[in-house]
């Protein structure tokens, strides 16, 4: 009765009851497992739909009969032309225009000048320093190979994102079509579309570029759409009243006015491109990623750590630069300023470039630092890792024994023991709880195909690993976040650690983790937790920091002590943000669990590797979709929940 009185609307009460009924049914199915008919435990063989065969048929049709390949190949040749130009300029690949390679001092000077123009002295020092580091560590060639692809892929991705975002903004049909595609593009594991890309695009830098584009374009589309929607109507009306045609309105009013969002989109594109550096090297992206895999394969942790550092430095640099560009506001020059006053950076750049070319003419060291002349941190790093491994080894052994015997094996068995029907009903119940019938149907629409694909057990193992990892990540990330958010300076430092961990190539974690825990689920989960904790930490800090100050003041005036402040005021208000963090954490975990197949798992990721080696497109995509659907299901539940919380908080305020 009280529940009914408290709940804002009878509809929500009904919703709660239906959800409870469904969850109860799920519990009944699980407890009565032993008397259930076989068909309710696992989908019977007859019901399994041959998705893979269908996809393979469609794929063969598109490739052989539709002539799609000619089209994609023509497009990829176009991309390749761009790549050849940048490859020539940056590292002297023998292609038109045959001018390169540009000496490293010149590029470092260019980066520093750009950094100064965008963000002042500190950014200038960081930009210049990053490139000097790359050069003296002897990674110039590799880094330039990587950049030569990103320099082409990122702008293409931005253009494509702008075009598609505009399309989605203009036509609601386009938005409805794009939305699910974007969701899938962002949650589909990369290994799933590697073979199709190899067939339709080929291998080499162009394939790397195109995979990078596929992966980085979704945020650009979303932010373009957001930016165009956020343009104040009066600005548009003023454009119309100025007699602008539709095209003029788009190019000179709407897009420039949406500049900030669009530049954040550009920032996202760059970050995603760097995140793809290692994975794209599986299909021919040259440079740092490829070198990293090669060194890891030979267990050269120190050297691969150097490369990882370079990737992190590049990511942070490009992030800072693009953010500075996004937040930079134009500043006017005094009337009658001379050319020199108006373009100090251009002149400084010209001067520095000239000096750079002169230096490189004097001594080849300033063109490229040979590997032989390079500095290296590998020795100390290797020694450090060695000591660390030795020191924590006893603890790791105990942890390994404890987790495997008492946590992981029982949990894993429990997940596999659950009847499929119980899981499906449970999923529907959760969906119903957060968003009524519609959400229940959405959840089922994601879960049912997994059951019918015939990969149920594998999927459950993936779910089990993600569940354990995210739980551990919550246990670690929440307290750390609470500690970090207490002081603004500490929070800023913690966020920098998050940035670093997130951009550090995930493959590097795999080796030390195996050396600590061996090839088993503990190693997998340890690697995943590193990754999954980052968003929890980040969003805890952000959530606590974004509590409106007047509420904090109101609570203080009500005499709340710090403890009450945290539990009664800050945490409840931060819940929606925390849920978004948990959602991100699940996404990151899924991504990493699939990569952890390189350690050795028995989940969807392992099967995906197998599909890759037999070039089985259909199977690879089915497995990929299974992973994507797990992610999208969690995404739907958590985001709907978060939205509900925001609404109820909004109503309360």
């Amino acid at each position: 009765m009280t529940a009914a009185a408290l709940s804002p609307a009878p509809a929500s009460f009904d919703r709660r009851r239906t959800a409870q009924a469904l969850l109860l049914l799920a519990a009944l199915l699980a407890t009565g497992r032993n008397i259930l008919p076989e068909a309710l435990l696992r989908p019977p063989e007859a019901l399994v739909i041959p998705f893979a065969a269908w996809i393979n048929a469609a794929f063969a049709f598109a490739r052989d009969d539709l002539g799609l390949m000619a089209l994609t190949r023509a497009f990829s040749d176009l991309v390749e032309f761009g790549l050849d130009v940048t490859a020539n300029l940056l590292y002297g690949k023998a292609r038109w225009p045959r001018l390169g390679p540009i000496p490293w001092v010149v590029i470092a000077a260019t980066a520093a000048t750009l950094g100064h123009a965008l963000g002042g002295r500190r950014l200038a020092a960081f930009a210049g320093g990053t490139f000097v580091w790359i050069a003296v560590m002897g990674q110039w060639q590799w880094a330039m190979e990587t950049l030569s692809v990103i320099v082409v892929a990122a702008p293409l991705s931005v253009l494509l994102g702008l075009a598609l975002g505009t399309l989605a903004w203009r036509f609601s049909v386009a938005e409805r079509v794009l939305n699910p595609l974007l969701n899938i593009a962002q949650s589909l594991p990369h290994f799933a579309y590697m073979i199709p890309v190899v067939v339709f695009i080929g291998i080499g830098p162009k394939a790397g570029a195109i995979v990078t584009i596929i992966f980085s374009v979704p945020p650009m589309i979303r932010l373009t759409l957001l930016g165009l929607r956020a343009v104040p109507p009066e600005i548009i009306e003023s454009g119309k009243m100025s007699g602008a045609t539709r095209w003029q309105l788009m190019t000179r009013v709407r897009l420039p006015a949406a500049r900030t969002e669009i530049l954040i989109g550009v920032n996202q594109v760059i970050m995603q491109s760097l995140a793809m550096v290692v994975l794209a090297s599986f299909i021919g992206m040259p440079g740092l990623g490829q070198k990293l895999l090669q060194l890891l394969q030979a267990l050269k942790i120190g050297l691969s750590f150097e490369i990882g550092t370079t990737i992190v430095l590049l990511a942070i640099l490009l992030d800072r630069m693009s953010k500075a560009a996004a937040h930079r506001q134009p500043v006017h020059h005094a009337a009658g300023a001379t050319f020199r006053q108006r373009h100090p950076h251009l002149l400084a750049w010209l001067a520095l470039t000239a000096i750079g070319f002169a230096l490189s003419a004097l001594h080849p060291y300033f063109t490229e630092v040979e590997r032989k002349q390079a500095l290296s941190l590998a020795g100390p790093v290797d020694a450090g890792v060695d000591v660390l491994l030795t020191v924590v080894a006893p603890l790791a052994d105990w942890l390994r024994w404890f987790l495997i015997t008492w946590v992981l094996i029982p949990l894993r068995d429990a997940f596999l023991w659950l009847p499929a029907s119980a899981v499906l009903v449970f999923v529907a119940g959760i969906g119903w709880r957060v968003g009524g019938r519609r959400s229940a149907l959405v959840c089922l629409a994601f879960a049912l195909p997994i059951a019918l694909s015939g990969w149920w057990d594998r999927a459950m193992i993936t779910v089990y690993m993600v569940t354990v990892s995210v739980t551990l990540a919550l246990l670690i990330g929440l307290p750390l976040g609470l500690i970090a958010a207490a002081r603004p300076k500490r929070a800023a430092r913690m966020l920098l650690v998050c940035d670093t961990l997130q951009t550090f190539p995930s493959f590097i974690y795999l080796i030390p983790v195996i050396m600590l825990f061996g090839v088993n689920d503990v190693a997998v989960i340890a690697a995943v937790v590193v990754f999954a904790t980052v968003p929890i930490l980040r969003y805890t800090v952000e959530g606590l920091r974004s509590v409106p100050p007047e509420l904090v003041e109101a609570a203080l005036m009500s005499g709340a002590n710090p403890r009450q402040m945290l539990w009664q005021v800050k945490l409840p208000l931060a819940v929606p943000t925390l849920l978004v963090g948990a959602n991100q954490s699940i996404m990151f975990s899924l991504f990493m669990v699939i990569i952890a197949a390189f350690i050795g798992t028995q989940d969807l990721g392992q099967e995906m590797q197998r599909a890759l080696s037999s070039a089985d497109v259909g199977k690879g995509l089915v497995l990929g979709f299974a992973v994507a659907f797990i992610g999208l299901l969690a995404d739907h539940v958590l985001l709907t929940w978060s939205r509900n919380r925001v609404e109820s908080l909004g109503a309360r305020r």
Partner: protein
Amino acid sequence: MTDTDSVISCHNLWKVFGPGQMPELNERTTTQDLQAGGHIAAVRNVSLSIKRGEMLVVMGLSGSGKSTLVRCLARLIDATSGAVMVEGRDLGAMTEAQLIDLRRRKMGMVFQSFGLLPHRTALENVAFPLEMRGQDRASRIARATEMLSLVGLKGREGYFPRELSGGQQQRVGIARSLAVEPDIWFLDEPFSALDPLIRREMQDEFLRLKAMVAKTIVFITHDFDEAIRLADRIAIMKDGMVEQCDTPERIVMAPATPYVAKFTSAVDRSRVVRAGALSRPVNGRSVEGDALAANATLHQIARIIACDPRDFIPVRAADGSVGLMDRAEALDILLGPDLPETAA
């Protein structure tokens, strides 16, 4: 009033928001009829006509439909029914190209929150409409510079909007709206976003400009004092309908509806009512001494009225004809009517 001398006019104009099939719209359509179909009328059956060189102020509280009305007049939104005529052409029937051409030559608009393009300097903002119509760079920069100095922003050409104060930004907005030398000038609450001191200053500036440029003006405001100060005629809107459209004096002296009366009750009439409005035909009475100018407000001639010994003071209209003003009536307006208690 016929369409021949009106520059812009609308007839039975309706703007109804809501889903699906629109109900039939005529003068008998009521709010209830519309609500039944889930519709809301922002503009209801408005007919107005503005003459060349005239300034009409549309006044109403927020939600009264005044901004929607002006957007229908500029066809920033399409009216649901009714017609808008600009210099004898039906605005609703124009193609997009014709409409764009019309805006490039005939219309200018000033917006409440300025509507400046954040990525362009003041100069580039003012030059924007000229750029749209394809004017060459040199001539549009010359024109924009001229416009900026006209609004008193000489020397700020290179500033970006966020580097300017609110008043300065609106000056840029005004300069932009006048850059193409439009015949019709729309101003949508141009001074509402400014603080009171600046608002006053901008109103003076506006009057100065208005005298220089001689445009047909549609001015939107929610500030009745502003309306009285600036208007040739005022249209008072409520719930999408025009309650009364008349000269400021008539609105103050003869409110058509209780709503208008409530509005005008707090107004200092002496600042609105001009001598001419109190002037009656001579009717054989004697005309003694100097005549007052008919277009002076009572407030301006308060001292004369108070000190003048005559009971009937002659008033000379612009055409030279003379009438008589009852001094007692004028004093009533200046000082308020004699109340019995105070008399006692």
